[in-house]
Symmetry: C2
Subunit: 249 residues, 2 copies
Amino acid sequence: MKENPSAAIDRRSYEPAYAQLVNILRRQIATGVFRPGDRLPSESQLCQRYQVSPMTVRRVINILVEQGVVIAEQGRGTFVKPLELGTAAFHLDDLQRLFRDEAYTTVKLLEARITSASERTARKLDIEVGQRTVFIRRLISQGETPVLYHREHLVYDPTRPIIEAEMEVTALRGLFNGGAKSTIKRGDLTIDVTVLTKEEAQLLQSTIAVAAFRVEHIFYDFDDRPVSWGWFISPGDRLRFTTTVGIRD
Amino acid sequence: MKENPSAAIDRRSYEPAYAQLVNILRRQIATGVFRPGDRLPSESQLCQRYQVSPMTVRRVINILVEQGVVIAEQGRGTFVKPLELGTAAFHLDDLQRLFRDEAYTTVKLLEARITSASERTARKLDIEVGQRTVFIRRLISQGETPVLYHREHLVYDPTRPIIEAEMEVTALRGLFNGGAKSTIKRGDLTIDVTVLTKEEAQLLQSTIAVAAFRVEHIFYDFDDRPVSWGWFISPGDRLRFTTTVGIRD
DNA sequence: AAGTGGTCTAGACCACTAT
DNA sequence: TAGTGGTCTAGACCACTTT
């Protein structure tokens, strides 16, 4: 059988050989040349057919495995993976887009004051009840429409000068776009749903009891101590997450 | 300066060299040896220091880049990436876990009947209004607690025998765990929030107007024709998504 | 025993960035 | 020009599965 000339690797292309082969195989899977459960040609066969070295084929297979398109089984072969809902992931970069357009996105500092930790705050921040914390409220709007309401409790540590910086309204933008404080090592996020309280509805120019996303966060410093606990709230009609499972071509 | 003996690659270990080096570098980043913005040792330096070939170091760097821990810039170096909220993703495998425990999870078929497409259904499934569709309602419970309510509209195509199979209550489990119908190529998912209607609250043994997740889906066959449109609804107090950004060690 | 995927080597060449 | 990351080769050896 003669090969399809379009399914060959162009060595003059700027697209590297491994990327071309990934796309070739993806397309073949997407168009049904290989169906879920089918075995792909063995790696040595792929080497011959596309005139690339074993290492390059290996890399291609690895990428397809990471993409969730195929599953490789040692000694048996590489098989096309059936659709699996569990692999779906929703990315917060929908949220990130909010902060990308600096012109249309404004962050308004509603409140920033020193207070003492409540029982709940103390537990989240792993400090003593009554210890000093900084409480911050922000409202993030896109154009005229408020989209996010942010409440945050920060550990007050005079030896660490992050507080002044954290209050900066631009700090939030940095958090989303990557210019984050280097004092923060990681963050744990939880997404759940609530209905807007009266205060939240008022601020967000929405209606009370409307369904809303709630993204809770705890940020940790490099000593794994919590430094910030808080949450974002966004009415459901202003935020949405989408994704695709299976083979997108 | 002498090297830390614990930060060396054990060639006798079952853990491959590349994985060991990934963990070594991750740990060094997590413990602050390298801070956000810092440049990692060059690839040739890493080769010498850990006694591995360039190809292996290359692979390690690639993995760290994919994990979002570092960013590699050609001609400049590889740098530790600051925390970025936009990279956060929450995975539906929280949902998948529901279906893993077959003993505790039950899928109850509430209704399955042939009907004709409404204007909205027709638009979603890209068919004519009034064309025949199959409407299915399911209730997924964990133990005694209902967790998910599923509504689905399927294109009725007598030439395709998927309908009988789709109605099977086990089909859903397959969708989540990977044994999916090989007739499905991909699915588009959207997650947003609503409040429970009276009917939904009744079925889910919850209260009306409680906040809930709503996962809408459209599944496509290998000809990119929509075959199924529907959505899952789950009260917010029974489902939750978590994730970590930054360096988790 | 034969075939499969998995790891790894020791180089080569290229493109890019800094000086 | 020197140093960096990026791609690629042509093998080697191993672990595993199937026959």
